[in-house]
Subunit: 206 residues, 4 copies
DNA sequence: AATGAATGAGAATTCATTCAT
DNA sequence: AATGAATGAATTCTCATTCAT
């Protein structure tokens, strides 16, 4: 809804308007995803955002586009921060860096209702989501895993792809079954990954 | 109403027919579940079975009833065979028994498209499914896990419930992502479960 | 299915069997009609009777046939007892006889959940029901009404048909709205039938 | 799209369109209700209106909402005109005012196929309909009846609620049975309501 | 004659997506 | 660009009626 007196542009909405709408949409979608999962009705997101449904479709033609966009920021954080942090790699042995990152990844998934599930959805329109994760995060995890294996801390025969999916999977059901301790299971997996040096392993577990 | 000694059935359509139909229904449902997941439309199962939709509702009032029935046989096998097999417990140390059962459990889940997913569904009508699994299988796993921990082979601080859900989770996505090796991830988890004994871990993996 | 030891007839069930079934059906239907109205599912009546649904259809091809049969006894009572009772007509003036019969008719309707409603149903298969009532009871009411009018107790310009439907109508809703006093309304109608305030009434009618 | 000063609507489809559709829906529903009763399938109303089923649900979430809306105008007329008309109360004695209103009420019901019936429906979604009538019209009738009783024209022991339901009931079946004269029966009821020959009437009631 | 399993049309309801304004 | 009303396919579930045994 343009405010004629303040906007002299004859063409209507300007770039700022559009960007503002997109932001509102993303915030609304994030809120709704938390509340009702990533399969929530489009109308609900529209209502939350205060914008029309048509606007959603204009900005994000498929649901996956929206989901990807919603989590892009957090994915970016996971993708960029860790591997470039020099202090981390200085102080932490590679295995510690791997553990830390996996935990952050898990925390991210666990706090997004339905996201872990959606990562595997073969529903039309969700391939993008999986691809996004693979493209952005797999290289990061791969680097960490390779470094850890190179240091002799972890087995060299485990692929980052499998590990990423496995961790994602272990996060499923956290909301549905409050009694399920995903964190501990992930730790089990990580421990299983290590190369048998007892001193390294025993005191890590929580 | 006379009860001829040879035919206890008082009704027209005889028992054999009815059982045959129920079998057809279960087979059809199994096939459709593989093809389209356990959320497949009832109509599709009816079409696959060659029977009417009403017949499905007669036999299995809720979807979960059908799902449970479809997998009952396999669940029964998992629930009964293992813990009572004396030769197993004689030859295998407790940890081996645990591994074997977990692998069988995983094989079962992996071959049923959508089953692992359905186990977590909070959709109406699927609670039964989760309950069925918990009620039937959790005691078995619990016994195996307790025995293994008692033998000092595995950590005593891991609950069977978490382990069951975790294994179930790790099986998710096997069909969707052919490149995902659930088996290896499950082995990682099992290894992580052991008490960090270097000799135990190295040669188990496949 | 014959009872071999007690029934030597080679042709199967004898007349007594069939009649017994019909009676069971009628009793069951009466019970279900009270409980769930005359639109109750056929299956429910079958279950109540302990007989099969097919048997119901054999005995009563349409639902109205069943409804008519269920109430036949009571209709018979209304149709035959009153007009032939000599003591009644001796002690009661004609108007009193009319009132008494109308009350009995109303009591009959009120105690059959859904019957008053069904009398008007234009649903396929219910014409019979209306016809049955008209054919059996209208002559009775007509006789009573004519006698009462002849004695100068009631208006001569009211037809028995209208009165019968009106009384039937006034019985509707007794179960649904416990606060509705059908009895009093019927009394109002009967009172209105008597010649009372000439100035108010005569010129209004259309 | 800037908001022209003449159109305050922020939305695409403008208000006039929406209102036109709602009107089309109401007209279609009224027509279908006459033809097939208020239980007619939603799809039929949609077809009659030329609009989609979803549109009906958008405008009228429950069937009762639609029914209420269809008859709202007439209910409004009955609810507001009469009691505030000063000339009526000046020229008519209270009993005449009562008669007039009851006739108007009956005319309304009689011309709406299935409405009188629906008023009593205990089907889910029809409570509102009954409530609407009671809430809107009962106070009006109560005022008229009380005034008439106060003037000594009618019996003081009859409640407006019973009278309203009774009149409604007497209107049932007008379309189904063309030979049924609801009008006359209502007049009978009203006449029975008047205080005339005390000896005949008072002691009969139970 | 009796049975009740099977059938499938019918009705309600939801929601992704389009498109006139 | 934005809107949100309109659409109607898709899905679930019920129950009258048929018919093989």
């Amino acid at each position: 809804m343009p405010t004629p007196s303040t906007d002299p542009s004859p063409a209507g909405r300007n770039r700022a308007d559009v960007r503002r709408n997109e932001r509102a949409l993303l915030d609304a979608a994030a809120a709704v995803f938390v509340r009702a999962g990533v399969h929530a009705p489009v109308r609900e997101i529209a209502a939350e955002s205060g914008l029309g449904m048509g606007t959603i479709y204009r900005h994000f033609p498929t649901r996956a586009d929206l989901v990807v966009a919603v989590f892009k920021h957090q994915v970016d954080a996971l993708a960029t921060t860790t591997p470039t942090d020099p202090t981390d790699s200085a102080t932490d042995p590679p295995y510690q860096a791997l553990r830390t990152w996996v935990h952050r990844f898990a925390d991210f998934l666990v706090t997004k209702h339905g996201l872990a599930e959606a990562m595997h959805s073969d529903q039309a329109g969700f391939e993008n989501l999986h691809n996004e994760f693979v493209e952005r995060l797999l290289p990061v995890l791969d680097r960490l895993l390779t470094a850890s294996a190179a240091a002799g801390s972890t087995r060299p025969d485990v692929r980052a792809y499998d590990l990423m999916l496995a961790v994602g999977n272990l996060c499923i059901g956290v909301e549905t079954f409050p009694d399920y301790h995903a964190r501990q299971m992930i730790d089990l997996l990580l421990t299983g990954l290590t190369r048998t040096d007892p001193t390294t392993q025993e005191h890590e577990e929580h």
